[in-house]
């Protein structure tokens, strides 16, 4: 199950405020968790897909303050599996920059969507990103919000194309804003295809 499948599962809770405490992942009660730190968000996505595809129990989370660079994600994993996981990643040319034990709660990505119906158009907002489509044609007509530099790039790549034809933010985005847009993209597809 990839990150966005994970979010899909969480969508059942949309419009419901989360409990207000971040990092309350099922795994955070365990003592033996570590985090894998990568060079950039794109590597995190690749590593996540690889590890989940092989059945490892991992989660994509926000980094703790002491290793925060700015626009980043980390992978939380069971420390007891460290050697096996590192071997898997190295085998695929994806070695992490470092591995750190989890010592404090990790940040959890946003899981709330806001939907606005303009009549002929539907807009979905996830965190700071908004995606708008023409309801009749499923054409993506606008992307707004965000602040990382892949947002204008994503907008230029997606606007004017249909939901079916446009590249997904996951494929071409690199940042947390790109992640947020992916969530909006998945939610709007769910809304338009139901």
């Amino acid at each position: 199950m990839a990150l966005f499948d994970f979010f899909k599962g969480k969508k059942e809770q949309r419009e419901v405020p989360s409990p207000g405490v971040q990092g309350e992942s099922p795994a955070s009660d365990d003592q033996g968790r570590g985090i894998l730190v990568f060079e950039n968000t794109s590597e995190v996505i690749r590593a996540e897909t690889l590890l989940k595809g092989q059945g490892w129990e991992i989660r994509v989370m926000g980094p703790p303050p002491e290793i925060r660079q700015g626009c980043d994600l980390v992978i939380e994993f069971p420390l007891i599996e460290q050697l096996n996981i590192l071997r898997t990643l190295e085998g695929e040319g994806l070695p992490p920059l470092k591995t750190v034990p989890v010592t404090s709660p990790l940040l959890q990505p946003v899981d709330i969507f806001q939907v606005k119906d303009f009549g002929g158009y539907l807009m979905v907002r996830a965190a700071n990103m908004k995606l708008t489509v023409d309801k009749k044609t499923n054409n993506i007509v606008n992307v707004s919000g965000g602040g990382c530099p892949d947002v204008p790039y994503l907008a230029a790549s997606m606007v004017g194309r249909t939901l079916a034809d446009a590249p997904s933010p996951r494929e071409i985005g690199h940042t947390l804003c790109g992640y947020a847009l992916q969530l909006a993209y998945e939610e709007i597809k769910r809304q338009c295809y139901v």
Partner: protein, 286 residues
């Protein structure tokens, strides 16, 4: 003079600096041309149009290509730390840049080495970085939308992607979010909050709200926040007090939006063209 720092969404766009001109529907800086779309190009186009109406010099920009890998932003940060101390900009607006916390302090030092302190304005990724770095209070103006205001209000969140749900749900209670942002020192001296209603706020709360003309479709149009940041930057650089400039910018941006007769499918370039007329109709200059 106004300085704008940002990115162009093309990976191979070179690092360039210079005065920005508007030639037809393209921006020109040195020998490079840039299509006007959302992001820093929209901010610059709005700024050039506004400066033209006011008879002010066009903005000076530092730009680099970056599609989200952060490579371009890093190169730009390196360049800025070298050149900014020798400059004398009155106002510097930082925009779509990759948030890379270690660079923020270095740039703050470079700005501190300038002969005169410029008025720093931050929007988009650089605003995220300023907040993450705990240096929000060093800025004169942030220009968040309501979602980004929730991020500023969440003292735990290093990026809007991690804004906690119970805070995100407060977006109908803008005054509470403002209070919380200032309480934790995560807001600039002024906040210009872009949304269905635009607000100007400071540590005492909302100073002014503008909700007319109302065009609901503007919320969906990418780049309308960028044009507002461009407008307010030029007005501040022209000598207007920040609170007056913010109100004038909010009113102008909304009226330009109205003139474009927008739908959610309207593109920001169709609004930018109406900025001069909107400004003249409101304030008579030019």
């Amino acid at each position: 003079m106004l300085c704008v720092v940002g990115t162009v969404p093309t990976e191979n766009f070179p690092l360039v600096e210079g005065e920005v001109k508007l030639i037809g529907d393209q921006l020109q800086i040195g020998t490079s041309t840039i299509a006007i779309n959302r992001g820093t190009p929209a901010l610059l186009a709005a700024a050039v149009k506004t400066a033209d109406v006011l008879g002010q010099p066009s903005p000076y920009a530092y730009l680099v290509g970056d599609t989200g890998t952060g490579k371009g932003s890093r190169r730009l940060y390196v360049h800025l730390t070298e050149v900014l101390p020798q400059t004398s900009f009155q106002t510097i607006t930082f925009h779509y840049l990759q948030p890379l916390i270690p660079w923020h302090k270095r740039l703050q030092n470079a700005i501190g080495a300038m002969t005169h302190r410029p008025r720093p304005i931050a929007d988009a990724g650089y605003m995220y970085m300023a907040k993450m770095s705990g240096a929000a209070a060093d800025y004169d103006l942030f220009t968040p939308d309501v979602g980004e205001l929730a991020f500023l209000a969440d003292e735990e969140a290093p990026h809007p992607f991690y804004t906690r749900g119970f805070i995100l749900h407060e977006d109908n209670r803008v005054p509470d979010l403002i209070t919380r942002a200032y309480k934790h020192r995560n807001a600039a001296r002024y906040l210009l909050i872009k949304g269905e209603k635009d607000h100007l706020a400071d540590a005492s709360g909302i100073l002014e709200s503008i909700d007319s003309p109302m065009e609901e479709a503007l919320e969906a149009i990418g780049g309308t926040g960028d044009t507002l940041t461009g407008l307010v930057s030029v007005l501040i650089d022209g000598g207007m007090a920040i609170n007056e400039a913010a109100v004038a910018a909010m009113r102008t941006n909304r009226l330009a939006g109205r003139y474009a007769r927008p739908t959610p499918a309207t593109q920001v370039i169709d609004i930018i063209g109406h900025i001069p007329q909107a400004y003249r109709d409101l304030f008579g200059t030019g």
